[in-house]
Symmetry: C2
Subunit: 196 residues, 2 copies
DNA sequence: TGTCTGACAGATATTGAAATCTGTCAGCGA
DNA sequence: TCGCTGACAGATTTCAATATCTGTCAGACA
């Protein structure tokens, strides 16, 4: 029916991500997004109530995309300790890869994380739930010994903050990092395992 | 001999700390420091080669002062697990207290930490050495089971980053913090202890 | 002799006027 | 009717002129 493409939230998000990548968080404006879509900037406000909500939506998309492999890992089966280790290492890798490949989007994410906005809070909670899932599996398998699964999942998440929170991103490239990650993971796994 | 008080590095540091506290990191200038001491700013450069070195020296003094109770704790004796727990909790308290009591100096410290300057690096290494000392004691006492003391000390330090690195300071006031700290500490202690 | 001053060059920060942006909305056109 | 436009008010950002600061150094002063 409609030969001119309709303006959907999805198309706006796509364009916003492009603009964000091209100009960076500081320079990207709603007018730029509208220009990229060849509409007036008023139209963008028909789909998103504010620039902040638009930015949050882009960040959410970006985070969800990054999160996908981790969801799969948590849902898979196999021995919990190996799975947890794999899960943590995958999370670190994903973050590190993002810093290198997509620094503009990463800066956006960092800015969001520093404002501790709702989107990031929800994302963190989701991550913790995934860890909790693996911990529960480990208890069922008789390899983990845990009082409070939720609190311990949070503790694992907190303990690894240095390797997944963007505030520490500059340190991820240091040569001593891998061995420090190894030490951290083995300390945590020992803390979770049942004593032989 | 000299009735006019001589200009010493110590006096300059004192004055700098005052100025820093009064004006904040962004506004404090070498001229302000000189004015406070009633000398020309050229004189300050006789004792410190640059503004950066002056700032680093102030930060070092501040960190060393904050560090004192921790050195004592590490050097004391008693069961290592309790001592480590006390040490970590004391470190968290000191930091949290600083954020509340001395926000200007804390901002300076944060700025320094974010630049990952030499002074902060040295301070961190010192902290890790203190942890390592307690871990060694624990091994001697037969309560800790640790492969590589240095690496594990670093892992304990890394694992607790969320509660001592200034980048996370905003989150320290949250009501769920204490219980999360409890969960983290007990996870770490379990990871260190020998299995019964 | 050794410390301090004060003038200086270049770098950095401040300021206020002008430009741009955000968010709203009355009205246009399909 | 419904989505879009474009003009508008107030907030924010830019930009360039101006002021201040950093770091140096020749010379005063004790």
């Amino acid at each position: 029916m409609n030969e001119t493409v309709v303006l959907t939230p999805e198309r706006i998000l796509e364009a916003t991500e492009d603009v964000l990548r091209r100009y960076g968080l500081a320079k990207a404006t709603v007018v730029d997004v509208a220009r990229a879509l060849d509409v007036s900037h008023g139209s963008v406000y028909r789909h998103f109530p504010s620039k902040a909500s638009l930015r949050d939506a882009v960040a959410k998309r970006w985070l969800d995309r990054a999160n996908e492999p981790l969801c799969k890992l948590a849902a898979s089966d196999g021995p919990a300790p190996e799975r947890l280790e794999k899960w943590l290492r995958t999370m670190f890798e994903i973050k590190q890869k993002k810093v290198c490949d997509d620094p503009e989007m990463f800066a956006t994410y960092l800015a969001l994380a520093q404002e501790a906005r709702e989107v990031v809070e929800a994302y963190k909670n989701k991550q913790c739930d995934l860890v909790a899932k693996i911990l529960s599996d480990g208890i069922a398998q008789g390899v983990f010994e845990i009082d409070d699964v939720k609190a311990t999942a949070r503790a694992v998440f907190d303990a690894t903050v240095r390797y997944h929170h963007p505030a520490h991103a500059e340190e991820w490239a240091k040569p001593e990092c891998p061995s420090r990650i190894d030490a951290l993971i083995s300390l945590l796994l020992k803390g979770l395992r049942v004593c032989k």
